[in-house]
């Protein structure tokens, strides 16, 4: 029996359908015209289940961080509103003659505004970290597309890339990592 060869695009598209689009292996087989047994082999060989779970986790983390950021910003606005109101109350009054509870509340609000600003900055850094964590995957996806493209259109160029691959990776790391 002749072993059938599949192009990289078909494997890659099938992986995308499973990992990102959430399709079942059966549905992928129907959509791509590849046998279910072959799709199952790819899923096992390339760790699709693990990739899908990692993607799900990354999306959930990013959603959770975004939700927290939205809440922090709204609550920060509330504190700033409270502070502005108190500024109006203090206008024309001397602080040492003002009601001590009000002064204490005022100081608390200012401290809380400062704390929230720090938290928002931290959250922002975490979100940027999540985005950064995706970059190696994007690079990998790009490289796979490039290899697939050259394989069909310009095998000599692919050979040249293979020859200089280590050097290319060092250059790419320096520039984009």
């Amino acid at each position: 029996m002749v072993k059938r060869e599949y192009s990289f695009e078909v494997v890659d598209r099938s992986e995308g359908l499973y990992v990102s689009a959430g399709k079942t292996l059966d549905a992928i087989a129907t959509e791509t015209g590849v046998s279910i047994a072959q799709v199952q082999r790819w899923a096992k060989k390339y760790g699709w289940k693990d990739k899908k779970e990692k993607l799900r986790q990354r999306i959930m983390n990013a959603q959770e961080e975004t939700r927290a950021l939205v809440r922090e910003e709204i609550l920060l606005q509330d504190l700033v509103n409270q502070k502005n109101l108190m500024d109006q109350y203090f206008k024309g009054r001397e602080y040492d003659k003002a009601d001590s509870n009000t002064v204490s509340n005022y100081i608390n609000i200012i401290n809380n505004v400062s704390k929230l600003l720090q938290d928002i900055r931290k959250r922002d850094e975490i979100l940027r970290g999540i985005e950064k964590a995706d970059r190696p995957q994007i690079f990998l996806d790009f490289m796979r597309d490039l290899v697939s493209f050259l394989k069909d259109r310009d095998p000599a160029a692919l050979e040249a890339l293979e020859k200089n691959f280590d050097e290319f990776i060092i250059m790419a790391k320096e520039k984009y990592a």
């Binding site: 939205v70 809440r71 709204i74 609550l75 606005q77």
Partner: protein
């Protein structure tokens, strides 16, 4: 009777998590409502929030205080998480009435 579109236990937990952004700090109930609406609880009504906030207050997880705007004299409620509420979020004493997240 109008049915709530949210699971009450989840909503109670989210109220606590929102207030725990700055522990013990008092936040205007309108700001809490907006924060929840814009982060996953789109159709939440002030009535639903009030019912669940009162539940949390009865259990000692949050404190509710009626206050008055310095300038407009408008009355409003402010919420703050309590020590017990923080303990609950930290998983120190689970409660079947609040999701364990």
């Amino acid at each position: 009777m109008r049915m709530s579109i949210y699971n009450n236990n989840d909503l109670r937990r989210e109220i606590l998590k929102t207030l725990n952004i700055v522990p013990f700090c008092e936040f205007n109930s309108k700001a809490v409502l907006r924060a929840l609406r814009e982060s996953g609880f789109g159709g939440l009504s002030s009535g639903d929030l009030s019912v669940q906030a009162n539940y949390l207050q009865k259990k000692g997880y949050i404190e509710i205080r009626e206050t008055e705007n310095f300038i407009s004299k408008e009355k409003t409620s402010v919420f703050a998480i309590s020590d017990k509420g923080i303990d609950l979020l930290e998983g120190n004493h689970p409660d079947v009435g609040v999701s364990d997240g």
